[in-house]
């Protein structure tokens, strides 16, 4: 997936002179995950810039660059380092259009690795997307495959508003897929149905699509047909696709790696309760990370929801 992200950068920089890549170690080093590999060589030091080591700087300068003619694509090296940038994201980037009544806008993409599972050090395995989804005025996107990373990143860069682009670290090198480097974007604000089914709907995103698809395959062997939906854009939520699926299956399981408490899963459950309660034949189940600090890696696979937990949750909705 990391190559697909580099490809999308390259395509868009080639076709839009206003796109500028900034971040820590994105230049000569090509990004610590190699997501910007080769870009500085190809597009020069003005368009691919290593910033000083300061995340508030990265987000704040993105606001200034975006309001004045550039399209910054900024990398925050790990999600755990995003927080100094939140002041700029919450107080400026997300509301610039609104508070100037459209006079100034922020077409910025902030990319950051998301989630755990790769034996990384402390603060390198965070999945705090719910914090970002709570900010009005920004989009939050999380791809689940190389193809979607390529298409959704292009869409994010072309979008006229700020997009937080969360890249699941477990997927960077997990899946190989042929990506046609044709500049075709995928739509934002819609879910993708990864697997059709009739007995239960499972909504998930990012790296958890891997466990969820494995669970669905196992359930299939047991005669249970699960529909798997990749949320893809976490904010705003495409609730229509989910409601249509629940209307068909009558059961909903939501799977995410982040903590459960006030998570994105809670919002999905609330929306389905508001708009689709009478379609439900069983209580909604959530399979999530625990409401704990993401542990260091000795326990990270005990924290990340397992295939078995997903299977059990789906079976629970079918027990009645």
């Amino acid at each position: 997936m990391v190559e697909a992200i580099a490809l999308a950068h390259g395509w868009e920089m080639q076709h839009d002179d206003h796109v500028v890549v900034i971040g820590q170690d994105v230049g000569a080093n090509g990004g610590v995950f190699r997501a910007t590999a080769g870009l500085q060589e190809r597009f020069g030091n003005d368009r691919v810039q290593d910033t000083p080591l300061a995340e508030a700087t990265i987000a704040g300068m993105s606001v200034g660059m975006a309001t004045h003619g550039l399209k910054p694509v900024a990398e925050i090296q790990f999600m755990g380092f995003l927080y100094p940038a939140l002041d700029q994201i919450v107080n400026h980037m997300s509301r610039m259009r609104n508070r100037t009544r459209g006079r100034l806008t922020c077409p910025v993409v902030i990319r950051t690795p998301h989630g755990g599972g790769i034996h990384a050090p402390e603060h390198h395995s965070e999945s705090t997307e719910a914090m970002l989804c709570h900010i009005p005025g920004i989009r939050v996107v999380c791809p689940s495959s190389p193809l979607r990373a390529y298409g959704l990143l292009l869409a994010a860069i072309r979008d006229p508003d700020p997009v937080m682009f969360l890249e699941p670290v477990r997927l960077y090198r997990a899946i190989r897929q042929e990506v046609n480097d044709d500049g075709q974007a995928l739509p934002l604000d819609v879910c993708f149905i990864l697997r059709e089914g009739s007995d239960a709907t499972i909504v998930t995103w990012g790296a958890m699509t891997m466990e969820t698809l494995r669970a669905a395959a196992e359930l299939d062997k047991r005669g249970i047909s699960a529909e798997v939906i990749d949320l893809a854009t976490l904010s705003p939520i495409d609730i229509e696709t989910i409601l249509e699926s629940v209307a068909k299956t009558g059961r909903l399981v939501i799977v995410h790696e982040a903590v459960r408490n006030v998570g994105v899963g809670a919002e999905i459950a609330a929306l389905v309760a508001e708009h689709g309660l009478y379609d439900l034949q069983a209580p909604i189940q959530r399979v999530t990370g625990f409401d704990t600090i993401m542990p260091l890696f000795k326990l990270e696979h005990d924290y990340i929801p397992s295939v078995q937990r997903i299977i059990d949750a789906v079976e629970l909705t079918l027990d009645g």
């Binding site: 170690d25 000083p52 080591l53 050090p121 402390e122 542990p295």
Partner: protein, 365 residues
């Protein structure tokens, strides 16, 4: 126009790259037992470091930030601090930590992905490793505020790297410490590289020491590969802070001889020549030369020391590798003083799905 403020930044080097004494020796440097103690500590951390990198390469340790080349700074700082002072490290300062009583087993435990490594038996009041860059500088200032309010004759010492001095938190910490004359010392370890970004790309400032000037506190630069200069300067700064004269900033000039971490490949962004040149100035050679000139060191003693260090490191590794995986309860046991009710169920779920079911200790809930 008149000049309303001016500044100068002084640079201290006592032991030159070739072991020559270039400035008056401080008292501790005339105490041969003490010099030998520092040299042994520098050697131990280097042997430990090589072993840790090896453990990572063989899949027995997580990502590890080597301290190769930083030994003089780390041991000089450690030796200058008092046990009751508080250290706020970044994540690479193993030499200072070993000097202060953190064990090699604890270091390996943390970098092996287990929070128990942060629960130092000694020193109980030091901060744990700090990955979010520069945040620790404010913790040190806060601890210094506590010492001031509580009228304890203690100091805090925060490390930060060259890259870290670009973060807002760093300037905020200097400003706070200066404005309240807090007993805190900031040690900026300028090793030339913030992962792939050289110091000159971080800032137009000629020195990082001069970043102290805007905060109204003293800033000084020392040869960070000279353990005598580091210890002398840090001692002086700590004693000034302790007697109420306020904070200061010390920039130690050294070089990161290793990759940033085991997950990095420095050959992508810096030349072999630069690294080779830096090796000529590394910190162990000069003190060995100094000791040999005084008739205190020879090849046999060096061999014996290396052997002794290797045994110590091997014992720590055995200890580390023998540690059982923590139970899933560990995620919950230390989250709050008392676990909120809704988490009891989650704790049971975690146990049920644990890769080692039944291994959890009784919870008492």
């Amino acid at each position: 126009m008149k000049t309303v403020a001016e500044f100068k930044i002084h640079y201290l080097q006592i032991l030159g790259g070739n072991g020559a004494v270039l400035a008056p020796l401080p008292p501790f440097a005339k105490d041969t037992a003490e010099v030998l103690r520092m040299y042994r500590a520098m050697t131990l951390v280097r042997v430990f470091d090589a072993k840790a990198v090896n453990l990572q390469r063989t899949g027995q340790l997580g990502t590890y930030p080597s301290s190769l080349g930083h030994e003089a700074t780390h041991i000089g700082v450690g030796a200058a601090m008092r046990p009751e002072d508080v250290l706020a490290p970044v994540y690479r300062e193993f030499g200072t930590q070993l000097w202060r009583g953190v064990t090699m087993t604890e270091i390996l435990t943390y970098w092996g992905g287990d929070e128990r490594g942060n629960d130092f038996a000694v020193p109980r009041q030091d901060f744990a490793w700090c990955v979010p860059i520069a945040t620790q500088t404010l913790h040190a200032a806060g601890a210094a505020m506590a010492f001031k309010v509580l009228r304890q004759p203690r100091c805090a010492l925060a490390y930060i790297g060259d890259g870290g001095t670009s973060e807002g938190a760093f300037y905020e910490a200097l400003n706070l410490a200066g404005s309240r004359a807090l007993p805190v010392v900031f040690v900026v370890v300028n090793n030339g590289w913030a992962i792939s970004v050289p110091t000159k790309a971080q800032t137009a400032a000629k020195t990082l020491a001069q970043k102290a000037v805007a905060a109204g506190i003293p800033g000084v630069q020392v040869d960070g590969n000279d353990v005598f200069a580091v210890r002398a300067t840090v001692s002086e700064a700590l004693e000034a802070a302790r007697r109420g004269a306020g904070p200061s900033l010390i920039e130690t000039l050294t070089y990161r001889l290793s990759d940033h971490t085991t997950a990095d490949d420095a050959s992508r962004y810096r030349s072999d020549r630069e690294v080779k040149e830096a090796w000529a100035l590394e910190p162990l050679i000069r003190i060995r030369t100094f000791l040999a000139a005084a008739g205190l060191w020879d090849a046999a003693k060096e061999q014996a020391l290396l052997h002794e260090c290797t045994l110590q490191v091997d014992a720590a590794v055995t200890d580390y590798l023998g540690k059982a995986k923590p139970s899933t309860d560990a995620m919950f046991d230390h989250l709050f003083a008392a676990l909120p009710a809704h988490l009891h169920e989650q704790r049971l779920t975690a146990r049920r799905y644990s890769s080692k079911p039944g291994a959890s200790k009784p919870s008492g809930h």
